[in-house]
Amino acid sequence: MPPSSSAARGTAYREWPSLEAPGPFPRLLPWLLLIGGAIGLLAASVLTVEKIAILRDPTYVPSCSINPVLSCGSVMTKPQAEAFGFPNPLLGIAGFAIVASIGAALLAGAAFRRWFWLGLQAGATFGVVFVHWLIFQSLYRIGALCPYCMAVWTVTIAIFWYVTLHNLNRYLPAPPTLSLITRYHGVVLTAWTVLLLALIGEQFWSYWRTLP
């Protein structure tokens, strides 16, 4: 990966973004947006289709299981699955389609103005906050896991992290540790993931230990 272009930080490109100021992850970020967006889009689509199937057969009550992945009533039938009054995956379909398109556009050589990047930052921030609320609900309120939801958690966190690093390096007030966390971007993301896995492991430990 080419060196981070802290030298490019300045004001000139704010009016006229150019390809000379690619940000800290010029290759990683477009691919992450495209592939991460596609995974999120796929997961959100599957969840929407499943939701429709559940709505068609409202009498279906799956049995309650000690397996958190197959737990009763599935996560989707809970009120938290419609946080804004409509099924959450509809938000995902719209959001991830946009993210994937931005990734493809970057790969095609597009350059975006500051306001566009900040718009992506706003969307990614909303997404990551919402996803952590869902993680909390899933672990501590519903007590069940849903594999497609977890795919969405993963890509949302990764997209948020790299979009934020990109914008901190170019458009947002940089914290003093910015160069350090930019250099160790993978460490932060790994620690984040390990923390979530530890919470999942702890919450459902009584089940995992039954798996020989």
Partner: protein, 227 residues
């Protein structure tokens, strides 16, 4: 830059590997611990005896008892489980239809993700000490929608049920909070796990696990067993 990237990658992999090792060790420690508690059942006849002992213990609650003791219906249940509530009317109907012909046994199997399931089981067990097992069992399903799926302790509500039944509340409270009551429930869960119960409701008819999807399925299985 290559050096820096390597450091980033190295530390990341290190954290992930350390986490994997911790989990593996914890699982191994747990597996070793549980081996001591549950010796592998001996083969053949003794395994069969073991299974029947596990299905109906001397302290297991019987809703009805068949005169000829020919057919035994065992349900592992969770009072906060929606599908157990969905099955409850069918089981009640079955009890009516086969009164005196089938022994109905209830075993506790509260699932950890259900916040009040263990409390409900304790309340039912405490009520059983005063001869009100069946009433409390029915009350739990009749009121499940009012207290289920919530993350707030339902102790007061369950105590209210005991009061409505005219139970001796001091004795009820004592049994409800008695560690022996919880131990009693956990023994049911352990039996269920040993029998391969992974969810609720799980039904055993004369020792075989059945998976009915309707009252008609249940009736057909019981009819076949009675023949």
């Amino acid at each position: 830059m290559a050096m820096k990237l390597n450091a980033n990658a190295r530390i990341s992999i290190g954290i992930a590997a350390a986490f994997a090792v911790v989990i593996a060790v914890l699982l191994a420690v747990n597996a070793a611990g549980s081996d001591d508690n549950t010796p592998a059942p001996a083969a053949g006849a003794s395994a069969d005896v073991d299974k029947h002992e596990r299905l109906v213990r001397p302290d297991s609650h019987k809703l009805d008892v068949a005169a000829d003791n020919k057919v035994t219906f065992v349900e592992f249940l969770d009072f906060e489980c929606e599908s157990c509530r969905a099955a409850f009317p069918a089981v009640e109907q079955l009890r009516k239809d086969y009164a005196g012909k089938v022994t109905f046994v209830v075993r506790y199997f509260p699932i950890p993700s259900h916040f009040n399931a263990e409390r409900a089981a304790r309340a039912v067990e405490a009520a059983s000490k005063q001869g009100k097992f069946e009433q409390m069992y029915q009350k739990m399903y009749e009121t499940q929608t009012e207290w289920g799926e919530q993350q707030v302790p339902a102790d007061e509500r369950f105590r209210g049920f005991a009061k409505d039944f005219g139970l001796d509340l001091a004795a009820f409270d004592k049994a409800y909070n008695d560690p022996a009551t919880l131990e009693r429930i956990k023994r049911d869960v352990a039996d269920g796990e040993a029998l391969g119960v992974t969810g609720t409701p799980t039904f055993f008819l004369n020792g075989s696990k059945i998976q009915p999807e309707s009252l008609a399925d249940l009736t057909a299985s019981v009819d076949a067993a009675l023949k």
